[in-house]
């Protein structure tokens, strides 16, 4: 692991309303490049909310967040979207594959949106990613023609499509059976350990968390000691 890739300072998220609800409060966190980090905690503790803040999907009400040394608060909605597209990848509990698109087409979506590769190069990269995850035979299948584990692996391939610096995974094994869960865990672990990518995982599974370099526990929106 090398320098800090993501730094949170007093990160706070409060939902406005008649009775404001604070989801995450005063989070200070340094995440190193290539770190495999687990965020755990009871249901409703604010794990996913923290992940969304770290992944620039949500904007903090207080504190600041630095990605690769850059302040993210002034990026604006499109700037944040561009940063997510080029530097971040997401895997969710549900695979969220677009049902009308085949596996390879799902992986192609972020590549084509970024537009840095020619159509042939993009297709080659999408197929290689699927192949790396053992899905070469499923590449042209629609999501409903694949198992839950296969679909989740396609979602991981899609998250890796633009070679992101950080992968955020929100309960990526929550909907999977034991075997598929093991495969997904191994892939994410491999991404961190072998490929040197930063992987941040929200999980309820203590055995999965135990495989990570560090565990951050959130209770009532705060980091537990």
């Amino acid at each position: 692991m090398s320098g800090t890739i993501l730094k949170a300072e007093k990160l706070t998220r409060t939902l406005p309303g008649d009775v404001p609800v604070t989801l995450v409060r005063d989070i200070d966190l340094d995440i190193a490049q290539g770190e495999f980090l687990a965020i755990t905690g009871p249901s409703g503790s604010g794990k996913s909310s923290l992940l969304y803040l770290l992944g620039l999907l949500d904007q903090p009400s207080g504190g600041r967040l630095l990605l690769e040394g850059r302040e993210t608060s002034g990026l604006g909605e499109n700037g944040l979207a561009d940063t997510r597209l080029a530097r971040l990848g997401f895997v969710f509990q549900a695979n969220f594959l677009l049902p009308e698109f085949s596996a390879v087409e799902n992986v192609l979506l972020p590549i084509r949106r970024l537009g840095r590769l020619s159509p042939a190069e993009a297709e080659a990269r999408a197929r290689r990613l699927l192949s790396d995850l053992g899905l070469e035979k499923q590449a042209d299948k629609l999501p409903h023609q694949m198992s839950g584990g296969q679909s989740q692996r396609v979602a991981i391939a899609r998250a890796l499509a633009n070679e992101p610096a950080i992968i955020f995974a929100d309960e990526p094994t929550g909907n999977l059976d034991t075997v598929s869960s093991g495969v997904v865990q191994a892939i994410l672990k491999n991404l961190a350990r072998q490929k040197g990518r930063t992987v941040i995982v929200v999980t309820h599974d203590p055995s999965f968390a135990a495989q990570c370099d560090r565990i951050v526990r959130i209770v009532d929106g705060r980091m537990a000691a």
Partner: protein
């Protein structure tokens, strides 16, 4: 990037073939009927105006004044209340004074043809039958320049009137009613009591029965003699190269000659207003058809947006902009609108062709008239453009809604 967004839009529509087809059908039928009805209404309006312009003088200068001439004392005291007793109107032969000078002025205006005319009432008696006539005294060589009557000649020509000062051109209905033929003579008596025998040198047929029965054309000099109004004309008929200049030119002429000059637009103002009102009603009705079709598109795209909240959230989390999401759903409207136009315009063309085959015999005419259809590109542009705008408008609201989706709101509730 556009192909990505278009690809997503296309997949959304293809995934709901039945709904898409129904909304598409709405646009196709709406565009087709819009085009068909609009072309028919515009065609009939154009035909009407065309006939009006062709068959009526573009400007008619009459032997009367728009406002009564003021007494000198009234001119000297404008605004004063003046009562005058025993004013005796000047007795004079009615008609346009110095009409030859007026003609010189008119002929000096580029693009203007003008000819004097003396109109009066007469009676023809033949074979025990009497027919009231409207006598149109004109300079024979000018008739073709200011009137289209020459194009309706079925027997003889206008030129025959030039060579025969005692000639008369009558309508086909008069000829039929009185069993007259070209070459026969008839005696015309005027309201002055004078009578004269004329030889029929030509017969015209306009298709308007009352005109064909009641109007006759003669040499100006003969009508002046019959009506006892020598060297007088009670109208000057003006034809213009550009009939749409008539309103402005009529004002100029009236300002110069002082006689009432009526353009064809002024003479037909009530009809033109009726046509405008008819257009408003027609466009309201056919637009309503397309609006209903647009609701079909709104329904489809709105349903897609509702169903695709998760997809929208994941696309945004991937890095698609709000504008990209809006573009996807607007593209769906554009695709439906474009395809609707592409299929609706040929349908409309077929409707136009079908309507063009219909023929009618209108009351007062003696010939069959085909349904006039306007084949101008403007009809296609308006129908296609309206359908397209309706489709995009219908897509805009759900597209805007989709763009405003916050991915976190969806992802928070979509864990399972």
């Amino acid at each position: 990037m556009m192909p990505v967004l278009t690809g997503i839009a296309l997949r959304h529509l293809l995934a709901r073939k039945r709904q898409t087809l129904i909304s598409l059908l709405g646009i196709v039928l709406g565009t087709g009927f819009f085009l068909g009805i609009s072309a028919m209404m515009q065609g009939s309006e154009n035909d009407f105006i065309h006939r009006l312009i062709d068959n009526s003088p573009h400007i008619t200068i009459e032997d009367e004044f728009r406002n009564p001439r003021l007494q000198p004392v009234a001119q000297l005291n404008p605004g004063a209340v003046i009562q005058m007793h025993r004013v005796k109107p000047e007795t004079e032969t009615r008609g346009i004074r110095n009409y030859l000078q007026a003609l010189d002025y008119l002929h000096a205006i580029p693009g203007v043809a003008a000819s004097p005319m003396l109109q009066g009432q007469g009676l023809v008696s033949f074979a025990g039958k009497d027919e009231a006539l409207s006598l149109n005294g004109m300079i024979p060589k000018d008739i073709d320049t200011v009137s289209t009557i020459g194009t309706y000649m079925t027997d003889g020509t206008i030129k025959d009137l030039e060579g025969n000062p005692d000639g008369i051109i009558i309508g086909s209905e008069l000829a039929r009613v009185l069993s007259l033929e070209r070459g026969e003579s008839i005696t015309v008596s005027a309201t002055t009591g004078q009578m004269h025998s004329f030889k029929i040198v030509g017969i015209f047929h306009t298709g308007r029965a009352s005109f064909d029965e009641g109007q006759v054309f003669l040499a100006l000099k003969r009508v002046q003699a019959l009506l006892d109004r020598p060297n007088r004309a009670n109208q000057i008929i003006v034809k213009l190269n550009d009939p749409y200049d008539a309103r402005d030119l009529a004002l100029r002429i009236e300002d110069r000659l002082k006689y009432k000059s009526v353009s064809w637009q002024e003479a037909s103002e009530d009809i033109m207003s009726t046509l405008a009102l008819r257009n408003i009603i027609m466009y309201s009705v056919v637009s309503a058809v397309l609006l209903v079709a647009a609701f079909g598109i709104y329904n489809v795209i709105s349903t897609v947006v509702m169903e695709k909240q998760r997809d929208i959230a994941i696309l945004k989390s991937m890095g698609f902009h709000a504008g990209d999401i809006q573009t996807i759903f607007l593209t769906e409207g554009v695709l439906l609108g474009a395809l609707g136009c592409a299929l609706g315009l040929p349908l409309g063309t077929a409707i136009m062709f079908g309507l063009g085959q219909l023929v009618f015999k209108f009351p007062g005419t003696s010939q069959l008239t085909p349904m006039p259809i306007d084949w101008g590109w403007q009809q296609f542009a308006v129908a296609g453009g309206f359908a397209f705008v309706a489709a995009i408008g219908a897509a805009w609201l759900p597209a805007r809604k989709a763009a405003l989706v916050k991915p976190v709101d969806i992802l928070r509730g979509a864990g399972a």
